[in-house]
Amino acid sequence: MKRGDRLQGSLDLLVLKTLQKGANHGFGITVHVQEVSGGLLRVEEGSLYPALHRMEREKLIAGAWRTTENGRRARFYKLTAAGGRRLAEEEANWASVALGVERMLRPA
């Protein structure tokens, strides 16, 4: 729980970024994050769903039940217009935070 909280900001960013590539379900999101980050990042699965539902309530993403390629029912989330705007904000935000941290660690 605690860790989830600390990571919340980045978790939202990872989810939104993943969904920018197309609608996906929760499991798909974890796999995507792990693969793209080359195994460096791992979404904590227990915290993923509360976060998804919270973002859905905030209308950043929209969920709907669909069938996967393997014929399994799963809830697919897709990015909304508001979610797209939020992603842009978060990316910019993250970039500046990352830059700041970078400078702190390697002072010029």
Binding site: F27, G46, H53, N70, R72, A74
Partner: protein, 873 residues
């Protein structure tokens, strides 16, 4: 509606959905592991491990959805509470209004429901009827054995017909002291006809019901518990009832009640004797009941019984009465409630009126408050509160108000019910059965909650407009019109209630001040009902009455004293047909004269009762030795028989029996058939020393300086020495009369209370509207004052405004009152149902209340300071 249901269903299935989503994730992860060569078990374990607790996750998902909702609900509640604290007057009045409406309607309905609407405690109760002859001798239908036996043999309308003797007292000797109990003699098929069965032991059989069969009895559940400790050993036990051995064969069910609502403790077979002569059986009284055949309606049964009735009436009903007797077939419930029906409907109507007035008041208050808050709502909408949120918030407020009112209403209802039960006269209500009725409570709650919700939410539902933020257009014209109509409606309802109350109170006054024809003050009566068995012969009866008179007459300092067989003013005494009377030398009297009452009295009766002798003389002690007993007529009877002729000294045969007696005097008329009815004609005969009258019932009356208790002790001692098994009932005459006034007093005081509450509600409503109007127009008033309008004129304007709407309400209420008056004619006494005085009084009270309610707002309007008002908002 359908969409709402879908919405509810979706809400309910959401938990399911969340769980499914997590399951689906776990399954996909398992598949993923399997794809990498794990065994199924390893895959499952790994998936679990990676995910953590699915339950905890589902819980967190739920929290995501629910927490904001709970938080905002709490916020709404806190906000509402803050609002209430800011407007304590509004809150208190609204709560009280709801509480009074709910409390009063629930309590009164709870009392009335068992009377008017409840099912009778018999299976298929709507098949049960009471039937018989109906005539001037009794207030209910009756039958005679001879006719009943023929009806029963020949009828085709009923599955079963049964009969019982009128109830009487009997003495059970169990242990040492005799106990007086309520006893009924019934036919063997009595319980079966009503679909009842004994709780213990057996029912009567046809064998028990033969004349001369050994006596058996069923005892009531209550008697079984109290006198026999609920022991099974009572079945088959022989007890002594009226000095006769009687075997107990069974115990009546706990909930059994007699069809005419009498108390029963011992039930024995009536054993009708078919072998007795027709004439004898034709003067032997019964009550008859029956159960309709399937598919036969009440009307059809009546039609089928009509020829039988015609046939038997020709034989069994005395010729003089025949034209006055008709057949009655009516539902059992009708028979049970006919005396109290009108009073009950009246109370129910009054309390429903009150509930409507309360709802109107709540609506009015909420609309006023809402109008005052439109600015606030508009402001909150402007700074981003969603419409749903505003609706929910007003809803919360209304609900909280309703809830508080409901809680208080339940309390009031409960207390009121206690009070009603303790005040209600015997016979008006089935007291045992009165308990808070859940259905009515629910109804009253729903009604007031609905009005609170509906009117509380109205402002939030309409789109908040920017203009509402300016003080000028705080409320549209439609809204204020609606509120004025509400006030007018409340005024109308209050007027109807007030007129009703005023009519009832005035008839009560009339009833209390109605001359009774006798003077009951300081008069104490002791009633005795000796057993026939103890005094079987005329000689034994005569000896008993003479001894009783000697003993009761010797009580020292008791005052004047007399014996009589019955006492006014209660009705229900048996009389004789007027048409039986013959006057020597006169043509026969008119037919269809109804009944004439009679009493056998000792000479002291008129003095003791304070009944004036208006012509001739009273009875004399020395006349009691021998000869035909002399006769005193009531003034009414004398007038009818003789007109202007002097009746003194005339000879009359009272029963077409060849016994001619002499009229020695005329006594003043006395109320003798209840307080409401005009006195029936009546005559008095002297109790002779040599021969007692036929009946055994006797009452001793004293005009005494002693108090009732002291005299009562003396009387009891004398009676005990004469006949230890003879119970005595002692009551002052005032008490006996007061008992008859109990019901009108009860109804009048209740309706008055309701009228008072209705009036208060109307005044509160009017006050609310006016305060609001004044507040709304503060600025306008300020401008006018600044331009020189006088404060008095402004105040007068407010009062005039109040007057207009009160006037409209009064006009509507007056129409309602006339309709009400007609409906409640039967409850009135000596007051016309269209009594203008009552209406004027009611309208006056209402106008005064309205003026008073308008006073504060008017005063406030007159004191508006132009400088402040113009700066205001």
């Amino acid at each position: 509606m359908k969409r709402m249901w879908e919405w509810v269903k979706r809400r309910l299935s959401r938990d399911e959905e969340w769980r499914e989503e997590i399951e689906s994730h776990l399954a996909m992860r398992e598949e993923w592991h399997l794809g990498r060569g794990s065994t199924e078990e390893e895959a499952r374990a790994a998936a679990r491990k990676q995910f953590g607790s699915p339950l905890a996750a589902a819980e967190q998902v739920r929290a995501v959805h629910i927490r904001p909702w709970v938080e905002s609900a709490m916020q709404d509640a806190a906000y509402a509470l803050r609002g209430f604290r800011r407007a304590p007057g509004f809150t208190l009045v609204a709560c009280l209004t709801i509480a009074v409406g709910i409390g009063a309607s629930t309590a009164v309905y709870s009392v009335i429901d068992p009377l008017l609407f409840r099912r009778l405690p018999y299976p298929r109760d709507n098949q049960l009827v009471s039937l018989g002859y109906f005539g001037p001798v009794d207030s209910n239908e009756f039958n005679v054995v001879a006719s009943y036996l023929e009806w029963k043999k020949q009828q085709t309308a009923f599955q079963a017909m049964t009969s019982m003797r009128p109830g009487e007292h009997c003495d059970l000797l169990e242990g040492t002291a005799p106990v007086r109990l309520d006893c009924y003699r019934v036919e063997a098929n009595f319980l079966k006809t009503f679909g009842a069965a004994p709780a213990r032991g057996r029912d009567f059989t046809a064998d028990d019901d033969r004349p001369g069969a050994p006596e058996v009895a069923l005892i009531s559940w209550g008697l079984w518990r109290s006198a026999f400790g609920g022991s099974e050993a009572v079945i088959g036990k022989t007890v002594t009832v009226d000095d006769q051995p009687v075997r107990v064969v069974g115990v009546l069910g706990r909930d059994f009640e007699m069809p005419q609502r009498g108390e029963v403790e011992i039930m024995m077979p009536e054993r009708l004797d078919t072998r007795q002569g027709r004439a004898r059986n034709a003067s032997s009284f019964l009550r008859t009941f029956a159960r309709l055949r399937e598919g036969v309606s009440m009307e059809e049964a009546r039609a089928r019984m009509e020829p039988l009735f015609e046939a038997t009436a020709r034989v069994d009903v005395p010729a003089e009465l025949r034209s006055e007797v008709r057949l009655v077939v009516r539902g059992l419930r009708d028979r049970q409630i006919h005396e109290v029906k009108l009073a009950s409907w009246m109370l129910l109507g009054a309390v429903m009126g009150l509930l409507v007035a309360a709802c109107a008041n709540v609506a009015n208050l909420l609309v006023a408050r809402a109008a005052a808050r439109r600015r606030e709502l508009a402001l909150r909408a402007a700074i981003g509160a969603s419409r749903a949120r505003l609706v929910r918030q007003t809803l919360t407020e209304s609900l909280m108000l309703g809830l508080a009112g409901c809680v208080a209403g339940c309390g009031i209802g409960w207390a009121l019910l206690r009070i009603l039960v303790s005040l209600a006269p015997e016979g008006l209500l089935r007291l045992r059965e009165a308990r808070m009725d859940a259905r009515v409570l629910a109804f009253a709650l729903a009604a007031s909650a609905a009005s609170a919700l509906l009117f509380g939410m109205a402002p939030a539902l309409e789109r908040p407009r920017v203009e509402a933020m300016t003080a000028w257009s705080a409320a549209g014209p439609a809204r204020t019109l609606f509120r004025r109509v509400l006030v007018a409606a409340q005024v109308a309802i209050s007027l109807v209630l007030l007129t009703g109350a005023s009519l009832l109170v005035r008839s009560l006054w009339k009833l209390e001040s109605e001359p009774l024809g006798f003077d009951g003050e300081h008069v104490v009566a002791a009633s005795l009902a000796p057993r026939t068995r103890h005094y079987p012969t005329a000689a034994a009866r005569t000896a008993f009455f003479n001894e009783l008179e000697r003993r009761l007459g010797r009580i020292p300092g008791a005052g004047s004293f007399a014996l009589t067989d019955s006492l006014p003013p209660a009705g229900g005494e048996m009389g004789r047909p007027y048409s039986n009377i013959r006057i020597e030398g006169h043509p026969p009297v008119a037919q269809n004269g109804g009944m004439v009452l009679f009493r056998w009295v000792t000479p002291g009766y008129f003095e003791t009762m304070g009944i004036p002798i208006v012509a001739g003389r009273g009875f004399r002690e020395e006349e009691r030795g021998a000869g035909e007993p002399p006769l005193i007529l009531s003034a009414g009877l004398a007038r009818r028989l003789f007109g202007r002729e002097d009746p003194i000294g005339k000879h009359i045969d009272l029963e077409a029996s060849g016994h001619w007696c002499t009229v020695v005097g005329v006594a003043g008329d006395v109320k003798n058939s209840g307080l409401r009815e005009a006195p029936d004609p009546e005559y008095y005969r002297l109790r002779m020393k040599t021969e007692a009258p036929g009946g055994l019932d006797v009452a001793a009356v004293y005009r005494t300086p002693l108090d009732r208790a002291t005299l009562g002790r003396w009387i009891r001692r004398e009676v005990r020495e004469l006949d230890p098994a003879l119970p005595v009932t002692i009551a002052s005459m005032d008490e006996r009369v007061g008992r008859l006034r109990q019901q009108p007093r009860f109804v009048a005081s209740l309706v008055t209370v309701f009228a008072g509450l209705g009036l208060t509600l109307a005044a509160v409503g009017l006050y609310g509207v006016l305060s609001f109007v004044v507040a709304q127009r503060t600025r306008e008033i300020g401008v006018r004052m600044a331009m020189g309008a006088r404060p008095g004129k402004i105040a007068l304007e407010v009062e005039k405004y109040a007057g207009t709407w009160t006037g409209i309400g009064v006009a509507a209420g007056a129409a309602g009152s006339v309709a009400l008056g007609r409906a409640m004619r039967g409850l009135l006494f000596g007051v016309s149902p269209y009594d203008a005085g009552s209406l004027i009084v009611a309208a006056g009270v209402l106008a005064a209340a309205a003026a008073l309610a308008a006073l504060v707002p008017a005063w406030r309007a007159a004191r508006v300071d132009p400088a402040v008002a113009l700066r205001h908002e």
